[in-house]
């Protein structure tokens, strides 16, 4: 009997630290609400909404890092592409036939264009340029070429549509009042959609044949190949998912905040990288928690210290976490390379 008890206790011990950290964060928020009242509660709600967008983008980064060991710098530009393509389509009147639904159609086309762009990136950064030298160049070449794509896409959009920020109108404003808090309908919808996408992706990775193949590639592409996984056919799937996550996040951002610009992805992209590292590199739950935490930190630091403080507070928090807990808040020092 004692043997069983010992083996049962083990997973709890492994879980306890992230659970403690999560509980500490929730407790801190509760204290903040108790002191600050409704104003703070409203900030927390806005923070979680913003965090849902960071979470989705962080998930895109996590997927390529976790499976391909590749920091895909084109993700911010994919995020931007959705918003700008959607704006361009509506602005030039291509979708006037869709009437009141033009905005939605524009965003769907925007996401589709983003997925195609992501596949183009795969073809040029990963498939043809991937070399096996077994040294630093092996990782540096896809990294640098994806950085090249970031700049190329950004400036293509800039040449086509100008560098100014533009207004993307959504023809409705459905605020929901809940215990005196104002919840934006679009924001709530986007939170639900982001959570749903992340949940589906988590399920696919954990419980399907494709998910097992992806986790095997994450640990060792050679072993995956020995087990019959056609790695060159699965890599594009990762890029489709990356494009989908970045594109949907871009669409949600556009709906929520209504502003698009060729540089809108840079700000969100860097925050999402911070979120991913904060939560634990390559861990999906880390991306989720890190995204929400960065969103909260951002809105609360604007509230307490003003808008100029945001970058300092977010990156300061990240540096503090890296010093205290290099594996990230929710990362576990797992055996082997695969963390998915």
């Amino acid at each position: 009997m004692s043997g069983t008890a010992a083996t049962l206790k083990k997973p709890q011990a492994a879980l306890s630290r992230p659970v403690l950290i999560g509980a500490a964060i929730v407790a801190a928020l509760a204290v903040a609400v108790a002191i600050g009242g409704k104003v703070i509660a409203q900030q927390i709600v806005s923070g979680l909404m913003l965090g849902a967008i960071y979470m989705t983008v962080a998930m895109a980064f996590t997927l390529t890092i976790g499976v391909l060991n590749f920091l895909n710098f084109t993700i911010p530009t994919l995020f931007m592409l959705t918003g700008m393509v959607a704006w361009g389509l509506v602005h030039r009147g291509f979708l006037s036939f869709a009437g009141g639904w033009a905005w939605l159609l524009a965003l769907v086309i925007g996401v589709a264009v983003t997925v195609v762009a992501s596949l183009i990136v795969e073809r040029f950064t990963f498939r043809y340029l991937k070399t096996k030298h077994g040294d630093a160049t092996e990782h540096a070449i896809p990294l640098v070429s994806s950085l090249g794509f970031l700049l190329i896409f950004e400036h293509l959009v800039l040449i086509a549509m100008g560098s100014e920020a533009q207004r993307f109108q959504i023809p409705f404003k459905a605020d929901i009042h809940f215990f005196g808090l104002v919840l934006g309908g679009a924001q709530l919808l986007s939170l639900a959609l982001a959570v749903a996408i992340v949940a589906v992706l988590t399920y696919v990775l954990k419980h399907t044949r494709m998910g097992r193949a992806l986790r095997t590639i994450a640990e060792s592409p050679d072993t995956a190949s020995l087990l019959g996984v056609d790695v060159t056919r699965i890599v594009p799937v990762v890029f489709v998912l990356t494009g989908l996550l970045a594109g949907v996040a871009g669409a949600l951002f556009t709906i929520n905040y209504g502003d698009v610009s060729p540089f809108m992805g840079d700000h969100v992209g860097t925050k999402a990288i911070a979120a991913m590292v904060l939560g634990g590199l390559g861990s999906i739950w880390g991306a989720i928690a890190g995204g929400l935490l960065v969103g909260l930190t951002e809105t609360l630091s604007i509230h307490y210290f003003g808008g100029d403080s945001v970058q300092m507070v977010v990156w300061g928090l990240l540096l503090a976490v890296i010093i205290l807990r290099p594996q990230g808040l929710f990362g576990t020092a797992s055996i082997g390379k695969g963390k998915m």
């Binding site: 044949r209 190949s225 087990l227 082997g336």
Partner: protein, 235 residues
Amino acid sequence: MLLEVEALDVRYGRTHAVRGVSLGVGADEIVTVLGSNGAGKTSLLRALQGLVVPSGGRVIFDGHDITKLSPPQRLRRNLALVPEGRQIVLSLSVHENLQMGAYCRDDGGVDRDIDAIYDRFPNLAARRAMPASVLSGGEQQMLAISRALLARPKLMMLDEPSLGLSPLLVERLFGLITELRGEGIAILLVEQNTHMALEVASRGLVMELGRVVLEGPAQELRQSDRLAAAYLGHA
């Protein structure tokens, strides 16, 4: 012959790892490839499974030229490799590792075959839901072989399966290899444990610096002076 290798060459940059190796494995025999570290044995197996592209030569398996096929394509033609160091997927559970073994199959018999594996190796059954990283070395080797079995191989290649196992487990391992041959699976066995390998194999080859320097029936090799000499490095 189930597997026929003709004048295979493997190069990594300037290193010429395998030099004109020819060998054959019959449908129900165990053939062993012996040799010291760096003799080119692992490179040979990696080339036979398609993990490295040979720079010359041909590989015929089950009547087809598979020289240009990828590792998944070779697996689907029922050629499996249990790699050096076992290469268990540590972040997957024991059960998921077995499911990955049957990744190349799309028939309905996978669950039944996995159950048969659990009957054969109760240790794996007891740990089916645990991450494979908790397994001992011997259990990992059983899992690696089971995983290859689920691809229903006609020929299973094993790269130093006895490495790091206790003498008792080595006994069990070679017992299992003989059992597999009895079930109709041909075996190409790369080993450092010359004594045990020549006990189970019908024929053997000795490699040195990428070349086959000696080959013949296992019984003859066991008494050969040149085998010992090859290991000492002056054949």
